[in-house]
Amino acid sequence: MTFLRRLTRWETGLLVMIGIVLAVGSATSPGLLSTYNLQTIAINNSVLACLAFGVAPVIIAADIDISVASTLALCGVFMAKLWGGGMDIWLAALLAVGLGGVLGLINGVFVVLLDLPALAVTLGTMGAYTGVAFLILKGAAIVDFPTGLLNLGSGTIAGTQIELSTVVVVGLLLVLTFVVHVSPYGRALFAVGANRQAALFSGVAVTRTRLIAFVIAGMFAALAAVFYLGNYDTAQANIASDQLLPAITAVILGGVSAYGGTGTIPGVALAVILLALLQSALGLAGVSGQAQTIAVGALLIFAIGSGAAIQALPGLGRIARRRVPDSEPTASP
């Protein structure tokens, strides 16, 4: 169906790059494709995947949300605190997801209803949410979560080698893909991102669409928190603060335009896989964790740059003439 046809050149390009990384990586480090390593990759990237999935709809809608990592921290702390107070861990997780939605809604209220710039607002809420997280835990950490949660984080499905977290992440991927690509909401999302005015004038529920996108981002950040707690068995106020940039990188790398209106969720998933494999391969080859960011940055540039080049191919002559375009002032006929 057309959905498969919509797996455009971008996703194909990602698949190609994944292939290259796999090929080169496993040649240099045979352990790359070992079950153990793949499991490690899966565990280590479930948080990133959730964050990236969540923030993708917001960017598609031509907004932005840089508070997702802080939302993660606050929801994680909230969940830990509830559990520490005696609540069942899964109920606490559920409530945390609810909190995530609320935090996302707060962003939405400021950006959509009050019409404030999204970058500034989410910059502010980023600080505010981290701050509240600190206020709750005051720098302490909560550890020793129940095995059920830890299983989600790093356990496998009974009898197989497949990570439980991977299964859940794939499940979330399917759900979000449904919402963004199959449901009518998704149609509205792309229309709003591509041309907000036209969508508005065509009767699309623009305000609601944008608000829901922020709520999704918040909820997925909370889900990411659940994974985090399961993976690392620690809840602290500053968790995952280093995951924001990788998440946004994954979204852009996944083919979502920074201006909104285009991109796919499976593309984001592929980007997460690509980044994860790349980092693992580099790590195994001895490149330090933080230096890996160079490769990530270079990859981003390469992806956008070649994407732009590919689009410009039909009009190669135009690129040369593209210096200072004269804009057309309005004139009546």
Partner: protein, 363 residues
């Protein structure tokens, strides 16, 4: 609609005040200081005020550069890594090269920063990446380079030359050299922004990029230049960082980009471009630092600070937005492309002789 507008004296005073929101910011800072001095004994402790200034200095320098970039309707997320890279590289360099005095050190820092900033310019102008993505990429790359150059170790204060190591311990007329450096930066950049043609071009480009290129302002060139300047200032801040903190490792500077943007936003620099001033950004930095100090002195967790800072940003943005909506007249509402959704001007042949509209960018 009135025929010609010469606003009444009172309105014009209000308008003047809001156009020069720096006055309001200074007032706010003074107010906060006065209240703190009165209400919080520990605030009055000796050396506290110089500590505030010392803490604010680096943020001010980076914020001032960031303000220029934002005024041009761009953004630079890579300043943190530029700062860190310069801190280590230039710090070690001046440590090793015996004869390198402050002038050489500063020159190296500015040059390194400018080169890194120029890299941003290439991505944005040549490869046509949106600034937020381009500087996200360079933030990653330069950050990674930080790790590579430090080889896992760090720079120690003992390795620094005296002139750098004493940057907060000496005192010139009551202020440390660090603070003086910041003041110089603020003044110089502020003057350039306000009084030079280059600066006014930046404002014009941020205010209406299409009109600017239509009128022949060299938008491409200015983009390169503004990112180079921002990078240079971040580089300078890096060198001073080494002096202030002594030890420089691979994580130096982390988080600075957001603090700088926050300072600029609170200082009245509009994210839509074309308005606000470097001075405002510096005052925003000062205000933020002062509040941080008060909270620390009150033993309110560092943690509440974040909440307050975050709230301050949202309040500032909402406040400025409200104010500008009150004061600015909406030009015929009906058929406007919304601010904030501007895209790089695409060259195109009109499909038919349709009137095309220029995106209006209000503050």
């Amino acid at each position: 609609m009135s025929v010609s507008s010469s606003p009444s004296p009172r309105r014009s005073a209000v308008r003047a005040l809001t156009r020069h929101n720096e006055i309001g910011l200074i007032g706010l800072i003074v107010l906060v200081t006065v209240v703190a001095e009165a209400a919080v004994p520990a605030f009055r402790a000796s050396g506290n005020d110089t500590q505030i200034l010392d803490n604010a200095a680096l943020v001010m320098i980076v914020a001032v550069g960031e303000a220029l970039v934002i005024t041009a309707r761009q953004i630079d997320l890579s300043v943190a890594a530029t700062l860190g890279l310069a801190a280590y590289l230039v710090g070690s360099a001046v440590g090793h090269i015996g004869f390198a005095g402050p002038v050489v050190g500063v020159a190296m820092a500015l040059a390194l920063g400018a080169v890194l900033g120029f890299g941003n310019g290439i991505l944005i102008e040549r490869i046509r990446m949106p600034a937020i993505i381009a500087t996200l990429a360079t933030l990653s790359i330069y950050g990674g380079l930080q790790v590579v150059v430090t080889h896992g170790s760090q720079l120690y204060s003992s390795q620094l030359p005296n002139w750098l190591g004493n940057i907060i311990s000496t005192s010139w007329i009551g202020l440390s050299p660090l603070v003086w450096a910041a003041i110089v930066c603020v003044v110089v950049v502020g003057l350039i922004a306000r009084f030079t043609r280059w600066g006014r071009d930046i404002y014009a480009i941020g205010s209406n990029p299409e009109a600017a290129s239509y009128l022949g302002l060299r938008t491409g060139r200015r983009t390169y230049e503004v990112f180079a300047v921002c990078g240079a200032l971040a580089g300078l801040a890096g060198l001073l960082y080494a002096g202030q903190y002594g030890n420089v490792d691979a994580t130096a500077g982390s988080g600075f980009e957001l603090t700088a943007i926050a300072a600029a936003v609170i200082g009245g620099v509009s994210l839509f471009g074309g308005s606000g001033s470097p001075l405002g950004a510096a005052l925003g930095a000062l205000l933020l630092t002062e509040i941080e100090n008060i909270l620390a002195v009150l033993k309110i967790s560092i943690f509440a600070q974040q909440t307050l800072q975050g709230t301050a940003i949202v309040v500032a943005v909402a406040g400025y937005s409200l104010l500008s909506r009150r004061l600015n007249r909406p030009v015929r509402r009906s058929l406007r492309v919304e601010a904030g959704q501007s895209r790089p001007a695409e060259p195109s042949e009109p499909v038919s002789s349709e009137p095309t509209e220029i995106a209006e960018q209000g503050t």
